[in-house]
């Protein structure tokens, strides 16, 4: 029982990431009708926003230790981050919480990247075939990841969670299991809550603001809305920025769980397309639901008991589910009929 409980929890954080990325992907797809293969790259760029923030915060003054020497016999270098020099304890706190601060950095940066991407490139592809959209965004994804590789190298760069959130919580006890049976890292709880907040934020934004209402109307019928004299294009551009920001912060927050590397975007991209397809192309609730569902399913299939019956199932379960869904119910769990069928 506790094993099952643990798997559900494990699935939640992966599912949160899937749901967030799939949400961004669906926002773009639903509003603009563009299949964005560079979306994984946005996730990756978000993660590297965290890396950059930490790099900036830990820029250090180098002084030489008067007494101690390193193994080469030279004076030992002492690195003191400038922020600590200037602000003392507050500086130390800033470095510790750099992941959270990175969110503040990532939101405007990613939104800007998204808007530039839409205005500069994707705008010109609205009337081109989907194959062209896939190809040009695929090219863009390669370019973005290679730029990151050029600057940050090919190796993963581990990012620590804030010290106060790096431990684990004996969450099982809260639910009446034995002590130490279910230990769950704090950061994953944070990630899940964060995802829940962002997702509800996006939904609330679309539901309760006039801006969101217009966008939803545009998603349903773009032509009519623009005939009403509403500049839907500009709103869609902003939606692209929003989607990029959502995906970006999903990347930022994911860094303590998996150290970012330049190809993480491509790795996540396939999964997220699968998630979107399972949820139903163009359906926001579908994307979120499918994200969590597949995340949990994946962690269940990683259980030894399951693997003993079906070896290797954990590697392919998501694809398998996607295939079955696509063949049996092409519009996905919650999609409208006929989206993109032609």
């Amino acid at each position: 029982m506790d094993a099952i409980f643990l798997q559900v929890l494990n699935g939640l954080d992966k599912g949160s990431a899937y749901a967030l990325i799939a949400l961004g992907l669906t926002l773009i797809f639903g509003t603009l009708g563009v299949v964005n293969f560079a979306h994984g790259a946005l996730f990756m760029l978000g993660a590297f926003c965290a890396v950059i923030t930490r790099k900036i915060l830990t820029l250090s003054q180098i002084t030489l230790d008067p007494v101690r020497t390193n193994f080469l016999g030279k004076p030992l270098e002492i690195r003191t981050p400038y922020v600590e020099l200037w602000w003392g304890d507050f500086g130390t706190w800033m470095i510790d919480y750099s992941v959270l601060l990175a969110i503040l950095f990532a939101i405007p940066v990613m939104a800007l990247i998204g808007i530039i991407m839409e205005r500069g490139l994707i705008k010109h592809f609205y009337n081109r075939p989907h194959a062209d959209q896939i190809l040009v965004t695929f090219g863009l994804a390669i370019v973005l990841q290679e730029i990151i590789k050029a600057f940050f190298g090919a190796n993963p760069i581990p990012q620590p969670a804030p010290a106060s959130m790096s431990g684990g919580l004996d969450i099982g006890v809260l639910f009446g299991f034995a002590e130490y049976a279910v230990i769950y890292p704090y950061w994953r709880i944070v990630y899940f809550i964060f995802a829940a907040v962002v997702i509800s934020g996006v939904f609330a934004f679309l539901r309760y603001t006039t801006f969101g209402m217009v966008v939803r109307a545009g998603m349903a019928d773009r032509e009519t809305v623009s005939m009403l004299g509403i500049n839907i294009d500009r709103r869609f551009t902003i939606m692209f920025g929003l989607a990029a920001a959502v995906t970006g912060v999903a990347g930022v927050m994911y860094t303590p769980i998996v150290p970012p590397n330049y190809h993480m975007g491509m790795d996540f991209l396939v999964l997220c397309f699968v998630v979107v397809v399972v949820g139903g192309m163009g359906s926001l609730p579908g994307a979120v639901l499918a994200g969590f569902m597949l995340g949990i399913l994946e962690s269940f299939s990683a259980m030894n008991e399951v693997k003993a019956i079906l070896p290797g199932i954990d590697q392919i379960i998501i694809y398998l589910v996607a295939m079955i869904v696509l063949l049996v119910r092409p519009r996905g769990l919650m999609g409208r009929k006929g989206v993109m069928e032609e």
Binding site: D132, I134, V136, F138, G312, Q315, E341
Partner: protein
């Protein structure tokens, strides 16, 4: 010239065959005349020609062809291990296995079209890749990749006493055999493996011309143009797309088998979906749906891969030596990210530019340049023909 080739398949075939067979001579001055690269030209040419039969004709964008490449490689290496180092059985098995695999995958994925088809093939490719890494380790040897060893059975071959692993051959002609000669200070290398691949490439190119010019090819183009109309014209489109999928899958398997024949090992990374992406790059860069384009694209990409990735900082410094110091450093700093390990960045950029500005690829570019040259030529005599051109335009309006 290009338009002439378009209309005259026999001429095209002859020119193509000559260019391919003379590859070692033509490419030597460009620093690409060594066997390893020449083999890759031919093999990836086959791959791209095959992919073009699916994507170029039907418009179905598959991200799963790397899987067929991998299946082909594994099958061939297994034949080397079990049966003989002669490449024929290995390649035959590669084609059959990839064909069967393509039949299975195509049967499922072709129920959907457009973006759904792309995502389904993507999922299949990733699945095959993951399986090759994990559960199928007894067949694929997992992360290490499938390699030959001295202990392999090789039932058909004579007992191996040499103490080293025998090399792949075609009835005794070893693939890595190279005849070298130096003419006018230039080193020419004629490699058996290249010529085996080159002859197969020519054959496969001929097959693709036949398909392009056949009623079957016409149906495939009709599928790309308007699948709905075709259905209401009494055509069952599924078997057509499936046949195209299987044929192009077999091309990929053949290429995989040849890759393994030149260098007898097979690894799972060959099956990753980004590999399929690079096949697509070749076809798009060369010119989708054209006959020559894919081969050209494969050649250009493999060439620049080989050349660009060899350029390092020292080479760049030598290039910009004539500039003053700070400018030299600046130029090196600017260019460096695009070469060496970063050559994929260049590839991505070029690819984007092609998709944006030149959707027809290099072939379209060549046609445009050709037209432009023709126009320039005509301009000289334009004044005298202006009036007649005007009247003929008028009559065609009516």
């Amino acid at each position: 010239m290009i338009s002439k080739l378009k209309n005259n398949d026999k001429l095209l075939m002859i020119v193509f065959a000559i260019l391919v067979l003379a590859g070692p001579i033509i490419l030597a001055p460009f620093g690409a005349g060594y066997p390893d690269l020449l083999q890759r030209f031919a093999i990836f040419g086959i791959l791209a020609v095959g992919y073009n039969i699916l994507f170029g004709l039907t418009g179905y964008l598959s991200f799963g062809h790397a899987a067929f490449l991998g299946v082909g490689s594994y099958s061939t290496v297994w034949m080397f291990k079990l049966l003989t180092m002669n490449i024929i059985p290995g390649i035959i098995l590669a084609v059959i296995m990839s064909g069967l695999f393509a039949l299975l995958i195509g049967f499922i994925t072709l129920r959907r079209s457009g973006i759904y088809f792309s995502i389904l093939t993507l999922a299949f490719a990733q699945m095959s890749y993951s399986l090759a890494y994990s559960v199928l380790t007894p067949i694929t040897n997992g992360e290490t990749g499938l390699q030959l060893s001295l202990a392999d059975a090789r039932v058909l071959d004579p007992v191996n006493t040499s103490g080293s692993i025998p090399s792949t051959n075609l009835f005794g002609l070893e693939m890595n055999d190279t005849w070298r000669t130096t003419i006018l200070g230039m080193d020419f290398q004629f490699n058996v493996g290249f010529y085996v691949s080159a002859f197969i490439l020519i054959g496969m190119f001929y097959l693709s011309i036949r398909i392009f010019r056949s009623p079957f090819g016409l149906m495939l183009r009709a599928i790309k143009s308007n699948q709905n109309r075709l259905i209401y014209t009494g055509i069952n489109t599924r078997p057509y797309t499936l046949a195209a999928f299987v044929i192009s899958g077999m091309y990929a398997g053949l290429a995989g088998g040849l890759l393994a024949s030149m260098d007898p090992l097979a690894g799972a990374e060959r099956m990753q979906w980004t590999e399929s992406g690079s096949i697509i790059l070749m076809v798009i860069l060369g010119g989708t749906g054209t006959l020559l384009g894919p081969v050209l694209g494969a050649g250009v990409i493999k060439y620049f891969e080989a050349i660009f990735s060899r350029i390092n900082e020292n080479v760049l410094h030598a290039w910009f030596d004539i500039l003053p110091g700070f400018m030299e450093n600046a130029m090196v700093w600017i260019v460096l990210p695009f070469v060496g390990k970063g050559w994929q960045l260049t590839l991505g950029l070029v690819f984007m530019l092609v998709v944006i500005f030149l959707p027809g690829g290099l072939m379209e570019g060549a046609t445009r340049i050709g037209n432009w040259v023709m126009k320039l030529k005509n301009r000289g005599s334009a004044d005298s023909t202006k009036t007649s051109a005007k009247t003929s335009a008028k009559s065609s309006d009516e």
